[in-house]
Amino acid sequence: MIKRCPTLEEISRYVDGELPPEAAREVADHLRDCPACRQRASELVSARRTLRESSVESSPPSMSPGCPDEESLLAYADISLCPAERRKIAAHLVSCARCSRLAAIASRSARFGVALAGEGLENPPPALYARTRERFFPQRPSPLGEIVAVLAELWRDFNRGAAYRMRGPGFQPVVSEPTAEFDISYAECRPLPAASREKTARSAPPPRKAVPPAPRGRVWDYPIPKGKIEVELKAAAPDAASLKIRLTGADGKPLPGVTVDLETPGRAAQTRRTGRTGRLEFRDLPPASYRLVFRLTPSRSLVVVLQ
């Protein structure tokens, strides 16, 4: 606790939240034990509120042609503008009550958010997720209700990272032919057009050593909500295969930086990340059951089971 009472100026700065943390803590400790200073601080808080309420009602906002757009004012508030642009907007704020009000509110919101984050944000109740989601994606009965239900289940699977599966009359699993000891058992696998398959086969690296005639590689593509996963399984030997994966977005461009885990029971998981071309490869895979986990975003992953 401060030995002496703080000056009125110090209390004024404290009430405005402008004292350094150490000094603010001392003043706060003092105010707890000194009724006279606490009374002064309360008066200053009341005065501050009265003044700010006067500000709100005294100048109705009206936009003029020279005003920056609202998002620029937000960017000014959260200090994400370059210095030159900041100076330009600051000069505008000298005389524009409307923009000054908006920028000040944004600035205080940003500070408030930082203070909240410092205290630790609170998660909303889980039930609110479904309620909010229902507002945007209401479940309506339709002739395609079964398909909608299957798609909804798919979506939930994506988000939970659960093993991928499809059900429903409209989605018969396409069972692939066994290739060596591998069989991709997930649904909706389908061979790429012949031209694409040949192209992929040409680009595959040659076997590293003489091996018995190997089965041909296979290529599947799998549509994801905003892109496509292509999986090429190539058996260089009966007991060693390679798995090539290519990820592309909805616009056909490669998806770089996606982490893919290859998990198999009893062995450490292998992790690769797609490069600039959206490709990655796992080599020397012995026969086993595998799970491929595509970490598309921090909150979303897709799991594909290979048996």
Partner: protein, 193 residues
């Protein structure tokens, strides 16, 4: 809106939205309604967001506006007021959310008295030196000392800094305080329900 946008935005920012709403004083069903309403406002405005500002700032502003709109529509939702000094002790802004921005619900007599205070304040501001008046106006808008100093520098005062603003503001408050006292501003003033 596609589901990806919803999922990723919700996952990243729902704690911020929820915490802001809780801090606005809304609880239980009111808070939950406000939460859903805030997300509706966020997604309604999403197409116009260009990514210049931080998305958390943008979302925070929308949530604040949604809270205030709702409080204005339905006064009974106006939250109970916390102790401003306790909020300060926790580093919070006591008047960012209502009640600071929500005009108190007053009787006609109290409302008239409040208007009178505003007239007095405006008249008193007119008597301050121009630079000090600018400082008080920006402070009344809600800028902090650093931001006010930056605005002063842009207006031509190169020596302006936080300390300068703090000093000038303190002097202005001293000048205005008798008027506020005379108008009945004290720590017990509160005509809110």
């Amino acid at each position: 809106m596609i589901r990806d946008d919803f999922e990723s935005l919700y996952a990243a920012h729902s704690p911020l939205v929820w915490s802001l709403i809780r801090r606005s004083g809304s609880r239980d069903a009111d808070g939950e309604d406000l939460f859903v309403e805030s997300w509706e406002a966020i997604f309604a405005a999403l197409p116009s967001f260009r990514g210049r500002a931080k998305i958390s700032t943008w979302i925070g502003t929308i949530v604040r506006n949604t809270c205030i709109d709702r409080f204005r529509r339905n006064r009974r939702h106006a939250p109970a007021e916390g102790d401003p000094l306790e909020m300060l002790e926790r580093g919070m802004d006591p008047d960012l959310f209502p009640p600071g921005f929500l005009p108190p619900q007053c009787s006609p007599g109290e409302e008239a008295s409040r208007r009178e205070v505003q007239v007095l304040v405006r008249a008193a501001l007119g008597g301050l030196p121009p630079e000090r008046k600018l400082i008080v106006e920006k402070w009344m808008d809600g800028f902090d000392y650093r931001e006010i100093a930056e605005i002063l520098q842009a207006s031509g005062n190169a020596r302006a800094d936080k300390n300068f603003v703090g000093k000038q503001l303190y002097l202005a408050k001293i000048a205005l305080f008798p008027i506020l006292k005379k108008a009945g501003v004290d720590s017990s003033r509160d005509c809110r329900e």
